[in-house]
Amino acid sequence: MIAAEHALIVLALVLGLAGGYLLARRRLRGRRSERPQEIHQILLPFTDAAISRRAVDAALRLARAEGATLMPAYLAAVSKRLPLECPIPAEAAQAMPLLEAIEQRAAAQGVAVDARIERGRSYRHALERLLERERFDRVVVPAGENGHGLSGEDLIWLLRNVPAEVLILRPGPEDTKTVGDRNPYPTRVPART
């Protein structure tokens, strides 16, 4: 009888402690989620159907080291014949595999990703529009080659106008992932946009 009473007391103690622990943990979690989060983002802008792997890796390394969110941003130039805010399915189909690939690599390294596709009349205009909406601590950008990607002038503009650290990487042909040759996401709408 005494043993049974002791067992009941021990059980009640254990349950009380476990309950208290769970309650405290929940409150702590709630307080953490209420705390305003500091925006800490690294922008990785790119164009066309390719991106420098070294740029992706560099951005991921920085993001992991700083606990930052990586924001890969596909920049699309919309023809002046079309409204700026029109859908761009052909460009989106080009951007998707790259964003997926970046997200995959980031997930493997435990880096948070918040991707964007931004439209503009030119790549620079798209960048400008993105900068109006988002804040960045760093920008990692692969320099363009042979008329592809951001031009030298765009990079100078970036250095002058972006209130963040800018890291410009020289791309090499060996470290470029090209997906344009075989697009796995054929679009329903022809690439008129």
Binding site: E85, M96, E103
Partner: protein, 369 residues
């Protein structure tokens, strides 16, 4: 008395043949024995248009003095007194001068319709209020005579009068739209291939949206499952995907998956966030909502926010309203405690939505423990 039927002939620009087509259909109605009058016609000195109006009774215009100058306007009382079965009233976006009963002609038309008279009318797409800014940006020309989009929504029929930009430019050069010098000025300014291509696309999209909105306005059906399936069959014109999202970066993967599926199926895509009522959209949440809205716009999808305490009830309501055939949801987090006793979300969705709506789960990117 039931209101008259309203038919609007919509065009991308002047000269595509809206008035001509309206008169053509008016003549056909008259030939079929209906009492048709021309309430107001703006022939713009176009011989073909004037010829098409021949034989139709015209309600005499009303003369109105504006700052000492007399202008001719539609005589609303004249049309109402004549009480035909069908009135043809050109240019519904026209702004009336002071002294008339209404400020806008579409308001005159509303009164005519209210007396049970059918009306055919015309308008160009740049006059629609919601498209005014877009058209101004595209063409560099802003029109001042605008009409609320609801006017188009109230029409029983909207007929797009379409013409290729090249054909319209040929008509302009031939002097069929404007006389000599005016035509040349128009060709040098507003009437460029680029402007017309963009306006044509805007007009086509507008009519497509009107058609879609009308197709989806269906009363909810009651009855057995078989009866409901049969009743909903006509709506199943095509697939329509609904992706359930939350304003957070991890939803982007679900959106991408949903968009790819929509592309493969040739389906339209809606993104839905069921927002708890009274939850303010501010700070980080606002940033993520803007990002989702932006992504939807890039992909040509619709971003919808439904306020509802119950996720399942909110989704079910939107599924019925939009005629969705597929629902895509993200993988649920592992359930703990009493939540394990609850039925999983996909099952609850299947029960709450109309029969035949599929539910697909998209896995998370993170590695499983």
């Amino acid at each position: 008395m039931s209101p008259g039927r309203y038919k609007i002939f919509l065009g991308m620009a002047a000269g595509v043949g809206k008035t001509y087509r309206m008169l053509q259909e008016g003549q056909a109605e008259a030939a079929a024995g209906r009492d048709v009058v021309v309430g107001y016609l703006e022939p713009h000195e176009r011989a073909e248009t004037s010829a098409q109006a021949a034989g139709l009774e015209m309600v005499p215009r009303r003369r109105v003095a504006i700052r000492g100058v007399e202008v001719e306007e539609m005589d609303l009382d004249g049309v109402l007194a004549r009480a035909p079965e069908l009135a043809l009233i050109d240019e519904l976006a026209h702004a009336n001068p002071l002294g008339l009963r209404y400020r806008k002609r579409y308001e005159d038309i509303d009164e005519v319709l209210g007396t049970g008279i059918d009306v055919f009318s015309t308008v160009n797409v740049q006059h629609l209020e919601s498209l005014n800014d877009q058209v101004a940006e595209l063409t560099g020309t802003r029109v001042r005579e605008t009409i609320p989009d609801a006017v188009l929504g109230r029409a029983d029929e909207v007929v797009l009068v379409d013409l290729t930009p090249e054909a319209l430019l040929d008509r302009l050069r031939a002097g069929k739209v404007y006389p000599g010098e005016t035509a040349e000025a128009a060709l040098n300014n507003f009437f460029t291939v680029e402007n017309l291509l963009a306006l044509r696309e805007v007009a086509l999209r507008q009519v497509a949206q009107e058609v879609e909105a009308k197709r989806l306005t269906v009363e909810p059906q009651l009855g057995t499952r078989e009866e409901r399936v049969a009743a909903e069959a006509p709506r199943a014109v095509g697939e329509r995907l609904l992706a359930l999202v939350r304003p957070q970066p991890s939803s982007q993967r679900l959106v991408r998956r949903a968009w790819r599926s929509a592309q493969r199926l040739g389906a339209d895509l809606d993104l839905l966030w069921v927002k708890p009522p009274n939850e303010p959209i501010a700070g980080e949440l606002e940033r993520h909502v803007t990002a989702l809205r932006h992504l939807a716009s890039v992909l040509g999808a619709n971003f919808l926010i439904e306020e509802n305490d119950s996720l399942v009830a909110g989704v079910a309501r939107v599924v019925r309203e939009r005629g969705s055939t597929y629902i895509m949801v993200g993988e649920s987090r592992p359930r703990r405690g009493f939540a394990r006793l609850r039925e999983p979300l996909p099952q609850r969705l299947i029960k709450a939505t109309p029969p035949g709506v599929d539910v697909r789960i998209v896995a998370h990117r993170e590695a499983k423990p």
